[in-house]
């Protein structure tokens, strides 16, 4: 199963992945209209300090605790991708409580959102990967892990 991986040695901490993610999931055609002067709610985020930076997004775990814990039955894993049915989510944040990677956060409407690999938006493949200027984020097969 292909996933998004980050090489922290190459990450520049430029946060472009966050913008590309927010744009890809905005459903809009124009990046400026979609993002300018707006607080963005990306599904990938950069963590780090002055020396080290890296982007974090859903690992699509082999045994996803968020799926088993969701009190609304809104999260499921379909064909290897962990997805949220946003119509069912009530924003209780139990997934935030259990995700060991800190990969979920609420969107603008308080409903949870997470990386679904851009497979269903106009991008078709992870926008964070496509737009990473230093190729620090890659989309590849590296075997299963918890």
């Amino acid at each position: 199963m292909k996933r998004v991986y980050v090489n922290e040695k190459w990450c520049l901490g430029c946060h472009l992945c966050e913008y590309n993610c927010a744009f890809a999931n905005s459903g809009m055609k124009d990046m400026v209209l979609a993002l300018k002067n707006k607080k963005i709610f990306p599904r990938i985020h950069v963590e780090g300090d002055e020396k080290i930076t890296f982007a974090v997004s859903c690992r699509h775990c082999t045994d996803p605790l968020c799926v088993k814990s969701c009190i609304a039955g809104a999260i499921s894993k379909i064909d290897g991708v962990v997805k949220i049915d946003k119509t069912k989510c009530v924003g209780c944040m139990t997934c935030v409580l259990v995700c060991p990677h800190g990969a979920l956060s609420p969107g603008e409407d308080g409903v949870m959102q997470k990386c679904e690999l851009c497979l269903e938006n106009a991008c078709g493949k992870p926008a964070c990967v496509t737009g990473c200027p230093n190729h620090a984020i890659v989309y590849e097969e590296r075997g299963e892990r918890v």
Binding site: Y5, E47, S69, G73, G102
Partner: protein
Amino acid sequence: MKQYVILGNGTAAVGCVEGIRSIDPKGKITIVSEEKHAVYSRPLISYYLEGKTDLERMKYRGDSFYDDNACHVLYGTKAVSIDPKKKQVALKDRSVLDYDALCVATGSRPFVPPFEGLETVENKFSFMKLDDALDLEKALTKDARVLIVGAGLIGLKCAEGIRDRVGEITVCDLADRVLSSILDADCAKLVQKHLEANGLHFLLGDTAVRFEKNKAVMKSGKTVAFDILVLAVGVRANTELVKDAGGNVNRGIVVTETMQTSLPCVFAAGDCAEGFDSSIGANRVLAILPNAYLQGHTAGVNMAGGNERLTNAIPMNSIGFFGYHIMTAGAYDGEMIEEKTGSGVKRFFVSDKLLKGYILLGEIERAGIYTSLIREKTPLDTIDFDLMKKVATNMIYSEKDRRKTFGDVV
């Protein structure tokens, strides 16, 4: 072909079905469901009253769940006894089911203390089931005065759910604070303030002792007039089936790490079970939905001949009221270390160089990183503890550990 029987049709039952099917695609699964509904998200009954969800979206699994998993569901009947020697369950409708492996997933029921005069109250409700919420909904009126007995999770979620649909809400509890099972005194005070700012009234350290139709007489001598009474004092695990069959039962049905009860071929999972809580190193009932699923799944895998152990279950709650979020996990054991942040309070409990528990008020971002430290028993000297207190970030791990979790195998 193996015959599986599951008693109860809640989250633990779903976990059990999915656990069985991960090993055995063929065996026959029969589910006995006392409630007449297909499985729904029990914790959402307050969100339903609040208008944040509806009956369709409350379905815990899609409409084809039982068909997809080849389950036969018997609605509106209940199991009345288990015969572990004959490997049979008797139902209320007098039919008998044979099983090779049985899972008791009967959940819990409201505990109602013997209040004097309770029978004189016309509009009284529990708040555990969808039907309770639907019944309560019929009684709601714009100016109804509501008395909720019990300031725990269920009573307060009910209050949040109905606030905008009634006149006024008073919540009483014998405990001197709100959410006494998950909050310490200081944190409870902060939460109470927030709830009061949102219109709830409290009578704490005080409870109803007697009811006279529309009036509650409190222990303190005060009286509270009400139109609607909600009883949310506490819950009791449904353990009787296993107990009567000679199985080992405390507050819940005692289970091992494989969810096996002391009766052969009988498993138990969810709110009715008392499994291992790794944060205290002993068995206890963990009446939360994630645990019901995890226990159910573990039971199912083992019923089908697979091998799964649940060794790192802990209590953990994420609960919000009127936009304010609270998260708690583990045991409040050892030294308390407090970190006040811009928007909230974090309290960590540390002993034996391990994070044992936490309480987060207001600031809950990426809290799963904390939960994971408790569940995995990560030695605190292998992480950046000072940073951890301030923010939940993957920066607390060494580069090597981070590479392991993030799959950078280069």
